[in-house]
Amino acid sequence: MAREIALRDALREGMSEEMRRDEDVFLMGEEVAQYNGAYKVSKGMLDEFGEKRVIDTPIAELGFAGIGVGAAMNGLRPIIEFMTWNFAVLAFDQIINNAAKTLSQSNGQFKCPIVFRGPSGSAGQLAQQHSQTFESWMANCPGLKVISIVDPYDAKGLIKSAIRDDDPICFMESEMLYGHMGEVPEEEYLVPIGKARVRREGTDVTLVTYNKMVLVAEEAAKKLEAEGISAEVIDLRTIRPMDHETIINSVKKTNRIIVIDESWPFAGVSAEVAYIVQKHAFDYLDAPVIRINAADTNLPYAPTFVEEYLPNPDKVIKAVKEVMYVNR
């Protein structure tokens, strides 16, 4: 039986099920326990699991990320919540220099099964420091896996897979969409890491995207349908490792692809998708790959700046018409 629940509830269900299943899983972060989570993702978890396993930290991202890494090396399975990935920048030393490298440095002796999670991306008028996406940053680093989701079904299935995975995982959510509703079954399920999801089938153009840009792509696809253009929407769900097969198969069918990516354009996820498409589907392309990113700028405060900065359905539709060589 499926029911509609919000993203935050799906994440909580996933974490709680894994904590019931495995004593070694614990949740640590700022405001996760007594405050019930800055965005209420962990609401009620302190009551169920107690203070041994749901742990409020001081504001010390580097320190508690490092404590998580040490605990993971010593046999536990920590979930480390960052209030946002913007604050996780303070902990990058532990994520990049330790979590990602421990297995290699120790020649396979010490694994680091840890999930670093929190929201990534802009969330309204929060200005420069609170609006960044980090999928590209983390996905650049071998040793890490990177997941980025907004769909509640995917969120629950993937957080469970992430907690069970023996590799360190960066898990990106969305501050704006914690209330985003979706169908989630009552019964237990997992979503595999490394598999994209075709959210909408289409024949004329492929829209590849992830996180809250999925909603932008879907809205654009709906509007395009009214104009007689059939767009296929692919949600990457996992950024690293990226599911090349789903993207390539779609391009072979549609011959046109647009990447909608909230991260900055330089050396980002969109650049990676464009590379693999030209490498593996060059002969199938009827138009250049186009990407729609956040602007190559900082994001200032005023609403006009936000509007200008972010991808939106109109920008997507314009790009689709460009690759289809139509002027409607």
Partner: protein, 341 residues
């Protein structure tokens, strides 16, 4: 620097501990000293490459520490770590082969001088980023407490790392949560080429524990006895569930920061002053004066260690480099990870 060591200047007093303990300390220190001297020689011959930071002068810390711990306790440290790893039980062969970058090394040629790891010895590694191992050590201790063991994690760092923010974050959480962690600062007086005096208003590093209500004290690191006693006391405190303890062990490295450092930032007199109270020399004298062994016994130990180190070099020489394809192993536990071309 050196005030604590001066106060405890060696006297020809009656030995406090058993013959076995003195001989164990002596052998341990001598092994590290000879191993490191050989490593420097091999570096000169370009058999060892990359960075290479040796432990010469600091051997009493490892010797004293290991006799005060159990093998179930954990240790994590920084990159001046050959001696610490040998003390834990990594063999000279595994260590030398690693320095040579050979597949028989303790981490198969993947770590080199800075990154030995040994899970079977609860050795959580040599860490190359100054101070990053401090929160990791708190996390290792966190896991021990979580599982309800009596084990502790010794978290070691140098005087340079004591200036990283990571230390303060880890001290605060370890103390708040009463984690079973023994923080040890091996204060050898210099963060690479910068003396402690030049980087802080407070030069008694152990006092940094005060800000967190963490018990702390300075320790003479030039004698295994003093290290042993301080760690026994601290470990007892930690195992009783009272939380972490911080020891600032004052020591001295005879060589530069790494092999490429001529150490021009200090005087010959300062170095010679320390060499006068060399822990190996002093312990040898104590053993002989206390009639715990004869000159002939000492020679036998020296010969044995010399042979061990020579065999380690031979082993390293005769081992193969790892196959380059090993690049694609141990980045992920997942064995079929789809690496990009």
């Amino acid at each position: 620097m050196g005030k604590v060591a001066d106060k405890n200047k060696t006297k020809a007093s009656k030995p406090k501990y058993s013959k076995e303990l003195y001989l164990q300390w002596y052998e341990q220190m001598l092994l590290i000293r000879r191993f490191e001297e050989k490593a420097l020689m091999m570096y000169g011959q370009q058999k060892i490459r990359g960075f290479c930071h040796v432990y010469i002068g600091q051997e009493a810390i490892t010797a004293g520490m290991e006799t005060a711990l159990t093998k179930d306790d954990c240790i994590v440290t920084a990159y001046r770590q050959h001696g610490t790893a040998l003390g834990r039980g990594v063999t000279p062969k595994e260590a030398m082969a690693e320095l040579f970058g050979k597949e028989t090394g303790i981490v198969g040629g993947k770590g080199g001088s800075m990154h030995f790891f040994s899970k079977e010895n609860n050795y959580f590694g040599g860490n190359g980023i100054v101070g990053a191992q401090i929160p990791i050590g708190a996390g290792i201790g966190f896991a021990e407490k979580y599982r309800g063991t009596k084990n502790l994690c010794v978290t070691m760092f140098g005087d340079g790392a004591a200036r990283q923010g990571a230390l303060h974050e880890a001290f605060n959480m370890a103390m708040t949560w009463k984690l079973p962690v023994l923080f040890i600062c091996e204060n050898n007086g210099y963060a690479m080429g910068t003396s402690v005096e030049r980087t802080s208003n407070v030069i008694d590093l152990h006092r940094m524990g005060d800000g967190y209500g963490m018990p702390n004290e300075p320790v003479d690191g030039m004698q295994p006895e003093t290290v042993y006693e301080a760690i026994q006391k601290a470990a007892k405190h930690i195992r009783s569930g009272k939380g972490p303890y911080f020891l600032e062990i004052k020591t001295y490295r005879y060589k530069g920061h790494s092999v490429s450092d001529p150490a021009k930032y200090r005087t010959k007199d300062e170095l010679n002053d320390y060499k006068d109270k060399d822990p190996i020399k002093v312990t040898e004298k104590r053993i002989l004066d206390g009639k715990m062994a004869t000159e002939a016994d000492i020679k036998k130990i020296k010969d044995k260690i010399k042979k061990m180190v020579e065999e380690a070099v031979e082993f390293a020489e005769n081992s193969d480099y790892p196959d380059g394809s090993g690049l694609y192993e141990d980045n992920y536990v997942q064995t079929d990870y789809p690496y990009l071309e």
